[in-house]
Subunit: 216 residues, 2 copies
């Protein structure tokens, strides 16, 4: 009885996460079509009306500003709606993060929706990828922490619609400070660093951690 009680919600949770990821995936395709299409205004107006109708179908309760989604494991686990890694967030590429020998590696391909100069990724988006991966590197090293200082160097433009690799690793710690480096390359040319980053993260003291990361 207890076992069934434990198993059932887990399966429900998996189904819910799959449904959320499925919607995120299709919305990403709609966003891509929206920023690329050369469609007459009357078609855009009709699609706009239908989008408004769809939004009204997502009825029911909406979570409040600081509420952790019930499908998440927080802190330190699944975040379905992260703007970088969340499969349920249409803004996220999403980046798939895997541990590697000396840190973490993220894999993603960015679309035209993330474009700065024509054909290339917005410089701020590269910052977002690196900040996120460097945070994962801190957690992977056992010292979850927050960015206090981030230095980015842009060596070459990062192409859109091209598989990318983002690497980050902790290089040292000093009291509550964690020092981290990161880089972005294409998957095809892993030796040519297009953007590099150095950051200082700080593990929040317990009081601040409670304020920033409220318990579920």
């Amino acid at each position: 009885m207890n076992a069934r009680h434990t198993a059932a919600p887990s399966t429900d949770l998996d189904h819910q996460r799959e449904a959320i990821a499925g919607l995120g995936h299709e919305l990403r395709a709609l966003v891509d079509a929206t920023v690329r299409t050369v469609t007459p205004a009357d078609v855009l107006h009709r699609v706009t009306d239908e989008v408004r109708r769809l939004t009204s179908q997502l009825t029911g309760r909406r979570r409040t500003r600081t509420e952790i989604p019930h499908v998440d494991e927080f802190p330190g686990g699944i975040r379905m709606f992260s703007p970088v890694t969340g499969p349920g967030n249409p803004l996220a590429p999403p980046v798939r993060v895997t541990p590697d020998g000396d840190g973490v590696t993220g894999h993603c391909t960015l679309g035209i929706a993330h474009e700065g100069p024509p054909g290339y990724v917005h410089g701020g988006m590269s910052a977002m990828l690196l900040d996120e991966l460097m945070g994962w590197a801190c957690s992977a090293a056992g010292t979850p922490a927050m960015t206090v200082s981030l230095q980015l160097r842009y060596h070459g433009p990062v192409p859109v619609e091209t598989p990318l690799r983002v690497h980050a690793r902790v290089t040292g710690t000093e009291a509550r400070k964690v020092f981290v480096t990161g880089s972005i390359t294409t998957e095809a040319d892993g030796d040519r660093q297009l953007v590099t980053a150095e950051a200082v993260f700080v593990a929040p003291d317990p009081e601040r951690a409670r304020a920033l990361f409220p318990e579920r």
Copy 2:
């Protein structure tokens, strides 16, 4: 006759831009509902199917990777699909940029879709806002340029669902280098800088500019 010829496309262009901005606005609302809703999986599946159907309605030609949208003025003008300022890009808040006494100021409110720590803006999103505004500051100063180095300092968390002000200004130039500073505050407390940035931008040499910014 010539005058009418000139006026007609301009009006068409305005209508097209309005339609693009309208769709961007409604998609932003759908994205917000998607990342906030606590909706059963069956409803999410139904909405997913409808989103897929909508994407298929945005038929016709899709612009290619480096093609400038015909609704844009580029370089140096309107960019309808910018991921930061573009009203037609569902990923953009969008930021409204206005010149001020000594640089440029951007106004925006970020939603939960841009969340890092619960209730607060993702640190990378703050970087994206600052990188974008610092680029505008370069253009406003008559020296359009690209980021080569960006240093961010996070002094305090930036709240979501709160009107924000992003300020950037050029502090000096040296040959093709442009030095820029920037900051993020809330609209309510303009004295308390939550994130500050210093950057070096470089005006591309003509050959590189042609490669990065192809003529229409």
